[in-house]
Every structure is written in structure tokens, then in C-alpha cells.
Symmetry: C2
Subunit: 225 residues, 2 copies
DNA sequence: CGCATAGTTGAACTCTCTCAACAGCCGTGG
DNA sequence: CCACGGCTGTTGAGAGAGTTCAACTATGCG
């Protein structure tokens, strides 16, 4: 089985995340490039592949017929998507920026579990990590105020990016659809935070956290601006 | 490893769900009984076990200091909980009714993966099923109206229970905290549905779906009562 | 029977949404 | 280099869905 495989090219993933060594699994991966704005998978497609992102950002979302959209998550380098128990995608995925990723044939990868049980353990851990994230977001969507949502969002991004300045790959609309708000509310609260000197907005795709402590308090609901 | 194990007693799980044969895995399980209202795990506890429910219903939730609560899911017979990527529980679990469940030592179970790769595949699938469910709920919490939420909830229950009459093990407060609403809103919409002859409420713990078709339409947002 | 708990109903309020106008940025073409 | 149009984001005013607070009713248990 491990013989009839396509070798992926040159991309190597950071060691940090659970999917760190997926690419090495039997050399199953194929490198794929997608332009900004392109659709990668659509709700209802059969699931033939798992994907690991090398560079760029994608949004994973569910849509309702009438146009409403809920972004499930944004994924960046080292993140993986396509994990699901179903036989067809329950969500759509689009590239926000230009994206490079590695594609793994689902069937083959799952077959490898029989040979390398560690892969099964690893996939399990990855799914669990996603699960924890999804459930944390459920608390946000179900019970937090708009201010709490945006504060949580910014802190989450800061954690992932660890720069002084956060780069927002996504639009205000994307943020709104991720937080279960409207674009206007997101905009208003950005402004409110800026006026309260909690953040700075040097340009529309950058945020600087000026007072993370207060933002934390805000995110937990023990404060209002 | 598979030798030093406690055998669980007599409970046998339906064959249907992904965790169908967990109990058989090396006979690792121990049967546990918990009374209604009892807490099974608390947010922050170390994760030592996975649990599979034999009978009864539990609620899994996250809480905020100020008392707000988001119920992540209700689990019944054959459902499993405790799956997570972290080393401590990110949620609390309480018994709603009297509950019988089987407890598996996490470490040992994960160790078995090395010997039985199928277990790894199975845990992966279970986690993926939970993941899909959590993400579906994210759409509900982020983008659906109160009516849509309650309609979706009732239809989901009906699917799981497949009787003509739905038994609500949980209180109105539990439903509210699951749907990201208040108890008053839930109550009002129950009444509204009843007046519109979409459901009947013979007693406070039972719901009869009178017009599933309309409820489906409502759940999808193509209708209002 | 009486109390405690759970659920329902009403009225007022509020947070977020909706609708609408405006401002800023960017690429294109004159 | 600036004018223009298109797109994204901001701001304001008004409306509405759901919450809050409070009173009331029903249910179950000693």
C-alpha cells in the first residue's frame, strides 16, 4: 500500500502541532496551491481528502439558504481540515489569502492506521483539539456579549500569532460571521475598543493590543467599556 | 497490559453507534452508577477516564464565573464523553437522571491503540462525530432565531428518540442554556408552537410533534409562527 | 394541606440588528 | 498625477427580537 503513493514535493511543516508529521506518513501528500477567494470544498462534496495548510489562511463555514453564514473557524499554517465522521463535507472551505496546502487521500491515510497505529492516535488527538475549540466557541456564541466576543477573538488571534501586532487576514464580514454578529456591530466595537485605548488600528488589516489585561477581563465578562 | 484489567460487569451496548464495541476492548471498563443531579466531572479536573453511558442522561457544559452556562450537549445511552485533546476537562458533566455508565481508564485505553489500531480509528471517528455535532450547533447559536433553535432542537431529539412522543429528561433551564436563550423565551416559544398546533405538551416533560414538516421549515428559517 | 420548585405570562427595557448615508482606500484609466 | 468608480469599513437613527424583572400558576413532595 505504501508503495503506490504520490510523493509530495518540498514543504515541511513546523514541529509543534499534532499534525506535525502527517506529511511524513508514507509520503502520501500532494502539494496544492489555491488563489485568494477560491473555493476549496463545498458543503455536500464527497470527502476524499484531508488537507494540511502550509501557508495562507482559509475560512471554514456553514451557510443557510437565505444567505446567513456561520464561520466555524479560520485555519492557518500547520492547521488541518477535512476531518469528519461523515462521508460528505458538512462545511465549505474558501481561501482568504493565497494558500499552499498538502492534500492527503482520505482512504489511504485511514488505511495506514492499520500499519501505523500512531497515526490513529494522532488523528484522534487532532480531532479532539478541534472539538475543544468548537466547544469553546459554543460558549462564546451562546452566552457572550458582542464586546466579550470581540475581545475573546482578538486574544485568541494574539495567542496564535504571538507578534506585537495582529494581522487580520479576514474581512470585517468574516469576523462578524465568525462571532455571530453583524458587520456594523463588529465595526462599532472595534471603534469603542480603540477609543478606550484597549487596541490600536493602524490600518484595516492590523490590530495592536494595547491593554491585554483589560481585554482579558472584558472577554471573561468582568468588565464593560 | 491487557492482563491487569478490571472486568466490567454485565452491561452490553447496542450495536449502532461508533462506540459500540468499546466495552469489549480488553475488558477495561468499570460500571458506575450516579444519582440524578450528581456531578460526574468538573471543569479543570484531570482527565483520567472516558465514559460510555448505558442508561440515563447527562449534560455537559461550560460555565462562566458570573453564573452564565452553556450546555454543550446532552448525552444518553451509547454516547461517550471525556474525549478531549487536553489534560484537564474543559467542561463539567452532571447527571440529569439516574445514570449508569462504563468508565475506561484513559491511559490504558490509549495504550491499547498500539495493539489494536482499529481502536484508534474508532476513537477518531467518534471524535469526528462529536465535532460535526458541535459545529452544527455553532450555526444554530450564531445565526438562528429563537424559533429556529427550538424547532431544530425538537427535531434533533425526535430523531434520536424515534418515538411519537419525545421525553424531555432536561428542564426548561437546561434547554435554554443549550440553545443560548433564556428560560422565559423557551417557555414562550413552546406555547407559541402549541398554539400553532405544531406540537402538543401533554405534560412538562413530554412533547408530541404534530406537524414535523412545518417544524422542519421553521428550523431552516423558511417560515415564522 | 402547604411549601418549594418549575414553568408560564406580562410589561418594560436593552442590546444588537436593520437601513441608510457617509468616509476611506485602491486600482484603473485618462 | 489626479479623477473616478467600486469596494470595504464606519457612523447614525430607528426598530425589533430577546432579555429582565416581576407576578402568577402548576406540579410534586413532605
Amino acid at each position: 500500500m505504501a508503495t503506490s503513493l504520490i510523493l509530495h514535493q518540498d514543504h515541511r511543516i513546523d514541529i509543534e502541532k499534532p499534525c506535525e508529521n502527517l506529511p511524513e506518513q508514507a509520503g502520501l501528500g500532494v502539494t496544492i496551491k489555491v488563489g485568494a477567494g477560491q473555493t476549496i470544498v463545498i458543503e455536500g462534496d464527497p470527502i476524499d481528502h484531508y488537507f494540511v495548510i502550509v501557508s495562507g489562511t482559509v475560512r471554514l463555514y456553514k451557510a443557510v439558504v437565505d444567505g446567513r453564514r456561520q464561520i466555524i473557524d479560520f485555519f492557518g499554517p500547520t492547521d488541518c481540515f477535512g476531518l469528519t465522521g461523515l462521508d460528505e463535507h458538512a462545511y465549505s472551505v474558501e481561501a482568504i489569502t493565497d494558500v499552499v496546502m498538502i492534500r492527503y487521500p482520505r482512504q489511504r491515510l485511514e488505511a495506514v492506521i492499520g500499519v501505523k497505529p500512531d497515526l490513529g492516535r494522532q488523528l484522534f488527538r487532532m480531532a479532539c483539539t478541534e472539538l475543544d475549540q468548537a466547544r469553546r466557541q459554543m460558549l462564546l456564541l451562546g452566552r457572550k456579549s458582542a464586546e466579550e466576543r470581540l475581545a475573546s477573538f482578538l486574544l485568541g488571534l494574539a495567542e496564535r500569532q504571538s507578534h506585537g501586532c495582529i494581522e487580520l487576514a479576514m474581512s470585517r464580514q468574516d469576523i462578524a460571521d465568525y462571532l455571530g454578529l453583524t458587520i456594523e456591530t463588529v465595526s462599532r466595537i472595534f471603534t469603542r475598543f480603540k477609543r478606550a485605548h484597549l487596541i490600536d488600528l493602524p490600518d484595516r488589516h492590523s490590530v495592536v493590543l494595547m491593554d491585554s489585561e483589560q481585554l482579558e477581563a472584558l472577554a471573561e465578562g468582568s468588565l464593560t467599556v
